[in-house]
């Protein structure tokens, strides 16, 4: 196999990925450093290496680092989910939002918060179960979307519409529950829904990582199988892609990733829309490279958004998901304005 057969983009893919990863590390360090007390980079590195001042070490390890890591994992996971969805629906405008996953997760969270609170508005079980509730909500919503769409699931636009319908029902129910529940929970739920990274702790991160690892491995394994999705449906099936089954499998994987991400960091679906675009632009079409790049960009975006929020809005805790949506939408719209050739 000759090296000449690699195209220019694929040749620079590893280099690009290295660059993005480096940017990510830098941003993460900045994210850890920034806060009510600014901790300079050398000190941050010092803490990681085991030394460092005690108060600094506490701040970094207990407060700042979990937040940054959670943002990285959540952003990365949902970015990969977005990539999968865009590939399988053959539409670069698809995002994890469209499956009703996010709204289902929100409903799960609200049911959990409202349902498991006693009269004094204290939670009767540990808050650690909230991600589980979110995950179950997300999974239920996705399952519903697929069950209802049945054979129509192979059409992107039909699936989108079923997703909108299921999402609408979930949104309405969520709203009702938020209104009859205690106000404190409502505020909590609202912040979560808008995408809040600031309330994670290490045990939650552990669970996220454990859940994420097998999912990501699976994604990388099937990455190569995604290649024919660039083609029209007939040709893709002509080279042996079992489209209906394959599609459902990918959707489930994407939904699982989204559920995991959303369970811990709230509704950050927009990251899943944009990160794959950036990935494709920088590393080209190779699926494995694009998946890795999507993950990195997703992590970058969410850490960046969280940083922006802290810089601009401190001491208010404006959810990072909001920021990604606000910053990202103009870019997304600009993307749409460019001539899209191959979209369904």
């Amino acid at each position: 196999m000759s090296a000449l057969t690699m195209t220019a983009t694929t040749m620079r893919a590893p280099a690009m990925i290295g660059l993005i990863a480096a940017a990510l590390v830098l941003l993460a360090l900045a994210g850890v450093g920034f806060g009510s007390t600014w901790i300079p980079l050398q000190d941050v590195v010092g803490v990681f290496l085991g030394g460092g001042e005690r108060t600094q070490s506490l701040i970094v390890l207990q407060f700042r680092l979990p937040r940054v890591v959670a943002a990285a994992l959540g952003g990365g996971a949902i970015a990969v989910a977005g990539y999968l969805l865009q590939k399988v629906t053959r539409n670069s405008l698809a995002s994890p939002d469209i499956l009703g996953v996010v709204d289902g997760a929100a409903l799960g969270v609200v049911i959990f918060l409202a349902g498991l609170s006693d009269e004094s508005n204290a939670l009767t079980t540990s808050i650690a179960y909230q991600p589980l509730a979110a995950g179950i909500g997300a999974a239920t919503a996705t399952a519903l979307v697929f069950l209802l769409s049945g054979r129509q699931a192979s059409s992107a636009i039909r699936l989108l519409l079923f997703g909108i319908a299921v999402a609408a029902v979930a949104k309405a129910l969520t709203l009702v529950l938020m209104l009859i529940g205690p106000i404190y929970r409502t505020a909590q739920a609202t912040r979560w829904i808008a995408g809040a990274v600031n309330e994670v702790n290490w045990s939650e991160i552990q669970v996220t990582a454990i859940a994420l690892l097998p999912a990501m491995l699976l994604v990388l394994l099937v990455a190569r199988k995604l290649a024919p999705t660039d083609l029209d449906e007939t040709s893709a099936r002509g080279v042996g892609l079992e489209l209906p089954i394959f599609r459902i499998g990918i959707f489930i994987l994407a939904a699982a990733l989204t559920a995991i991400a959303v369970a811990f960091v709230g509704a950050i679906g927009f990251v899943g829309l944009m990160a794959p675009h950036l990935a494709r632009m920088t590393v080209g079409r190779n699926a494995t490279a694009a998946i890795i790049a999507s993950f990195l960009f997703g992590a970058l975006m969410l850490i960046g958004a969280d940083l922006v929020v802290r810089v601009l809005f401190a001491p208010l805790e404006v959810p990072a998901g909001t920021v990604t949506a606000i910053i990202g939408t103009p870019y997304f719209l600009f993307l749409l304005m460019r001539k899209q050739s191959h979209d369904g």
Binding site: M1, T7, L221, R224, P228, D230, T234, S235, L241, R285
Partner: protein, 271 residues
């Protein structure tokens, strides 16, 4: 030549296919001989494209079966089927910024496994496909920058890279200009004559069908009306019955094949 009858490469037996309540194919039977060019022709909506797609198992049958080398195709795994029957879709599409080489490489999809990403066989097949269709010099070009004829060749190269014994073409020349139509069909014939591939072709143009077919099949209303050599089928009576056109059939002086000259719409003639 043995005395035993050679079993058809593809044997369509009593195939019924319906979209909901509408029967598109009705107990259709068609043996497809190996190593020949079989052309399916018929009026609009007769089901010829559906038949082709059914052969490639893009539609599930509601009744009857399709045998490939005496094996029911519904029992085959997708990978295996993709290694044995290739299909050039009617309106294929791919991202404009995909290169020719990337497209052709997709033809090796049924041969790739998780453990073995890209083998020497794959590389060899791709090179052969590029060379065979004469697009080696275009390998790094974006699909969007190609002319209609070049693009068609790139797609054919992809199907070639699949290295299947049977290749199906679903109306491959509809959108091509005259020069490229001939080029494409000559290439298809070369595939058959020089490389022994079994070809099943759906064509709209009756005369081109007659010119290139070893076996011509007239399909109407989801059933095979007639099949045989072009000279057997291209009679004025049969053409009127199947296509609803009154015509005169002469012999093409260049290719020594039947040539149909349409005169008038039979329905109008009856008024």
């Amino acid at each position: 030549m043995t005395d035993e009858p050679i079993s058809p490469r593809i044997d369509v037996r009593e195939l019924t296919l319906a979209y909901g309540a509408v029967k598109v194919l009705d107990t259709l039977t068609l043996p497809v001989e190996r190593g020949k060019i079989t052309v399916l022709a018929g009026p609009n909506g007769c089901g010829k494209s559906t038949l082709l797609r059914a052969i490639r198992r893009l539609h599930a049958a509601n009744g009857g079966q399709i045998l490939l080398d005496e094996m029911d195709i519904s029992r085959l795994k997708s990978r295996d089927l993709a290694r044995r029957i290739g299909l050039l879709a009617q309106s294929p599409s791919a991202p404009e910024d995909m290169t020719v080489e990337e497209l052709v490489r997709l033809g090796r999809y049924p041969y790739q496994s998780m453990l073995q990403p890209w083998s020497r066989d794959d590389a060899r097949a791709v090179e052969a496909a590029l060379a065979g269709t004469g697009v080696v010099h275009l390998r790094g070009r974006n699909l969007g920058s190609l002319s209609g004829g070049q693009l068609q060749r790139a797609w054919i190269a992809m199907v070639l890279a699949q290295e299947t014994d049977v290749i199906c073409f679903d109306e491959p020349i509809n959108h091509l200009d005259m020069a490229h139509q001939i080029e494409c069909l000559e290439f298809v014939r070369a595939l058959n004559v020089e490389h022994g591939r079994t070809v099943v072709l759906v064509l709209h143009d009756l005369n081109l069908a007659a010119r290139y077919a070893d076996k011509l099949v007239f399909v109407k209303a989801g059933a095979v009306v007639a099949s045989g050599s072009p000279s057997e089928l291209m009679t004025e009576t049969l053409i009127e019955a199947v296509f609803g056109v009154q015509s005169m059939v002469i012999t093409d002086p260049v290719h020594q094949r039947p040539l149909c000259i349409p005169i008038r719409n039979a329905a109008q003639a009856a008024e």
